[in-house]
C-alpha cells in the first residue's frame, strides 16, 4: 500500500512533467504547488507529533525523515535527464533538452540535500561528518556527474555536437543510480550506512511518516521542475526574439 502510494505519485509526477515538456506550453502549476505545500505541512506535523522517538538514537533519528525523502527526487530528476536525452537524440526537438536540464538541475538540488543532511546525522551518530564508504562516495560521485552535466550544458550552449554529446552523457549518467542504490549491498558489511529502511521494516508510525515525506518531496520536485522547464522555454523564446 505505502509502496504503491509512493511509486504512483512518483510516476504521476514524471508523466506530468514529460507531458508538459512535450506540449510545449506552461499550464498553471498552482495545483501541484498547493498539493506539495499541504503534504509538506502534513509530513512536518507527523515528524513532530506522530513518529515516535527511536529507542537507540533518540531524537537525532528524526533526521532520517528529512534525509531519505531527498533520494527519490534526486533519482527522478536524473532519470528525466536520461529520458530528455533519448527524446532529443531521436527528435532533435528542444523541449526534450529543456526536460533534461530541468531534471538535472532540480535533481542536483535534492542530491545536494542528501549530501548536506547525511553528515548532520552522521556526526552525532557515527562520530564523523563523513566516511569514505561505498554509499557516501558513490553519492558524491553521482553529484559530480550531474554538476559536470550542467557545466557542459552551460558552456556548450548552441553547438549541435555538444548538444548530442551532453544528451549521451545524461543517458550514461543514469547508469550510476543502481550502483549508488545497491552500494550498501555491494559493500558486503564494510559500511556504516544502513540499508534501505523499506527493506528492513519500520514501525508503522515511522513507515507512514516517511511515506508522506517521500510523496511530499516528489510533489515539491514536480513543482520545482515545472518552474525550471518554464524558464528553459523562456530562455529559448528570448533567443528567438533576439534573432528575429
Amino acid at each position: 500500500m505505502r509502496f504503491l502510494l509512493v511509486a504512483g505519485t512518483t510516476l504521476a509526477v514524471a508523466l506530468w512533467l514529460i507531458g508538459r515538456a512535450r506540449a510545449g506550453r506552461d499550464a498553471s502549476t498552482r495545483g501541484i504547488g498547493l498539493a506539495a505545500l499541504a503534504s509538506l505541512g502534513l509530513w512536518l506535523a507527523m515528524v513532530v507529533f506522530y513518529a515516535p522517538v527511536e529507542a537507540v538514537q533518540g531524537l537525532v533519528q528524526k533526521i532520517f525523515f528529512v534525509h531519505v525523502p531527498n533520494v527519490l527526487p534526486a533519482y527522478l530528476g536524473f532519470v528525466l535527464t536520461a529520458i530528455g536525452g533519448i527524446g532529443f537524440l531521436r527528435t532533435r526537438r528542444a523541449h526534450w533538452e529543456a526536460l533534461a536540464v530541468a531534471g538535472a538541475e532540480v535533481g542536483l538540488v535534492f542530491c545536494s540535500l542528501i549530501l548536506l543532511t547525511g553528515p548532520i546525522w552522521a556526526k552525532p551518530v557515527w562520530g564523523h561528518w563523513w566516511v569514505w564508504d561505498l554509499r557516501l562516495t558513490s553519492t558524491l560521485i553521482l553529484w559530480f556527474i550531474y554538476l559536470a552535466y550542467l557545466f557542459l550544458r552551460a558552456f556548450a550552449f548552441g553547438s549541435d555536437a555538444a548538444r548530442t554529446f551532453s544528451s549521451v552523457y545524461g543517458i550514461a549518467g543514469v547508469l550510476a543510480i543502481p550502483f549508488v542504490y545497491f552500494a550498501v549491498d555491494l559493500a558486503r558489511g564494510d559500511t556504516l550506512h544502513p540499508v534501505d529502511p523499506a527493506r528492513e521494516g519500520l514501525p508503522p508510525e515511522m513507515a507512514w511518516t516517511i511515506t508522506v515525506g517521500l510523496i511530499a518531496f516528489a510533489l515539491a520536485f514536480g513543482w520545482l521542475a515545472a518552474r525550471r522547464l518554464e524558464i528553459a522555454r523562456l530562455e529559448a523564446a528570448l533567443l528567438d526574439a533576439g534573432d528575429a
Binding site: V66, L113, T117, W223, E230
Partner: protein
C-alpha cells in the same frame, strides 16, 4: 543541545533554506526572463520592415 535537538533543527533548517532559496531563485529568474522577453519583443516590433 539536550538529546540532539540542535542536530535535528540544523538538518531541517538546511533543507528548508535550500528548497525555499532555490524556489525563490526560480521565481526571480522567471520574472526577469519575462521582462527581458517583453523588452526584446518591443524592440522587434519597433524595428522597421
Amino acid at each position: 543541545m539536550e538529546g540532539g535537538l540542535g542536530w535535528v533543527l540544523a538538518a531541517y533548517a538546511v533543507v528548508l533554506a535550500v528548497l525555499t532559496g532555490y524556489a525563490g531563485s526560480l521565481v526571480g529568474r522567471r520574472r526577469r526572463l519575462l521582462r527581458e522577453l517583453e523588452a526584446a519583443r518591443g524592440r522587434g516590433a519597433s524595428r522597421p520592415g
